[in-house]
Symmetry: C2
Subunit: 215 residues, 2 copies
DNA sequence: TCAATACGGAACGGGGCCGTATCGAAAGCG
DNA sequence: CGCTTTCGATACGGCCCCGTTCCGTATTGA
């Protein structure tokens, strides 16, 4: 997560400069509250200011309203993709998923995801920001690895890359979203990657009924 | 979805009986509002009653508060698992996923899932109800099919069944949660099942590097 | 017929939040 | 040093919601 966030308002050069600490405290408070399970709708500007130890006017001086503030909160979550070992497609996939696992373990990011997800229908701009900040970059990283895998022969060329991404990401998502109390155990990344690569069917077996090739 | 919901309050046998229509209208309104993207926190009892065309007292006569009402709303979502063809494990899995796909397409259920997911941290009882009403039964159905598959040799015996379930369910979940605008296209169920069964690796190929067997 | 309970509607006092304004103090610049 | 702007704090009018209570009316069992 980047430590600073854009002031998002014009800053005159005259007079007392704005306190960076105040702005940070606000964003940090929002994240902490979300982490504690507070819904975005339950987050009032008053409460945010109160918890941040900041005057309400200070908040409104930087952000036009709650939506603008939330946008900056999401932008503050920007995190780079991990470095890939490059030894094999399998190892790169494991690295990507392991990164995701550690993020998913962080209550902060899973809480933010949960609350943002709920706002999808009502606040398209918030959702768009989250998608561009968090989701898209991750997908691109996976896609690049998969494309390389196809060209090196490590990945089937006739499989839908989008579907494969969802196959890799889906299990951790399912556990965070549907079984939040469960942890994402160490070694889960490897198990997902190896299972997807290898398939659920016994090796070398061609079952007689009901099986069609992937188109 | 079951059409009726428990009154959740003692009903005296004397006097005018409670109108079933009123109670239904309330639950129906909550579902419709959730469908429109309203967060649970944004749902006020007043608004619910107003939209249901019902006196506020009528709502409070049946439910002690919003949480109790939400619990009954979730209970109203109870839906049976589909009948399984039984021709093969593959076809049974496709049937389960196809059922899920149709549900996911229904804005109602995905909207409810989204909003409920956001309440996880703050309202454990609501989450528990949703999990028992929706999630657990689905998991059991998958588990039964997978166990049968292991015994018939259609599914690897050394794979973690819980992980396999998440592999089957995860992709649709990912699309509904992370890419809500995308539809769940026809044929997705088959593609997921076949890809998971077959694996992402080219058939018959034993890559030289980085691949370890699933433990 | 009558007592009991339901209905939709309206009102109650209490509380929180919104977005703005104003305060005295603080912190920069020239 | 003044001038400007921000700081945290407090207060404002207006709005919505909570949970309860009271209407006048409707619908049941005794």
């Amino acid at each position: 997560m980047s430590t600073t966030s854009p002031p998002a308002s014009p800053v005159p050069s005259r007079g007392r400069p704005r306190s960076a600490a105040a702005g940070t405290a606000v964003i940090e408070s929002v994240l902490r509250l979300l982490e504690e399970g507070v819904t975005v709708s339950e987050l009032s500007m008053e409460r945010i200011a109160r918890e941040a130890g900041v005057g309400k006017a200070t908040v409104y001086r930087r952000w036009a309203g709650k939506e603008a503030l939330m946008l900056d909160v999401l932008r503050s979550l920007d995190e780079r993709s991990p470095e890939l070992p490059g030894t094999s497609v399998r190892d790169d996939l494991v690295a990507l998923l392991e990164f995701l696992r550690r993020r998913g373990l962080a209550k902060r990011s899973s809480a933010v995801m949960r609350t943002v997800v709920a706002e999808v229908q009502a606040r398209p701009r918030v959702w768009k920001e989250y998608h561009e900040t968090v989701v898209s970059a991750r997908r691109e990283a996976f896609l690049a690895v998969l494309r390389r895998g196809v060209s090196t022969g490590e990945i089937r060329g006739d499989a839908d890359p989008e579907l494969l991404i969802d196959l890799f990401v889906g299990p951790m998502l399912a556990r965070v979203v549907l079984h939040e109390w469960k942890e994402l155990p160490e070694g889960l990344a490897e198990r997902i990657v190896d299972t997807v690569l290898q398939g659920a069917r016994p090796q070398g077996v061609r079952p007689s009924q009901g099986v069609r090739p992937v188109p």
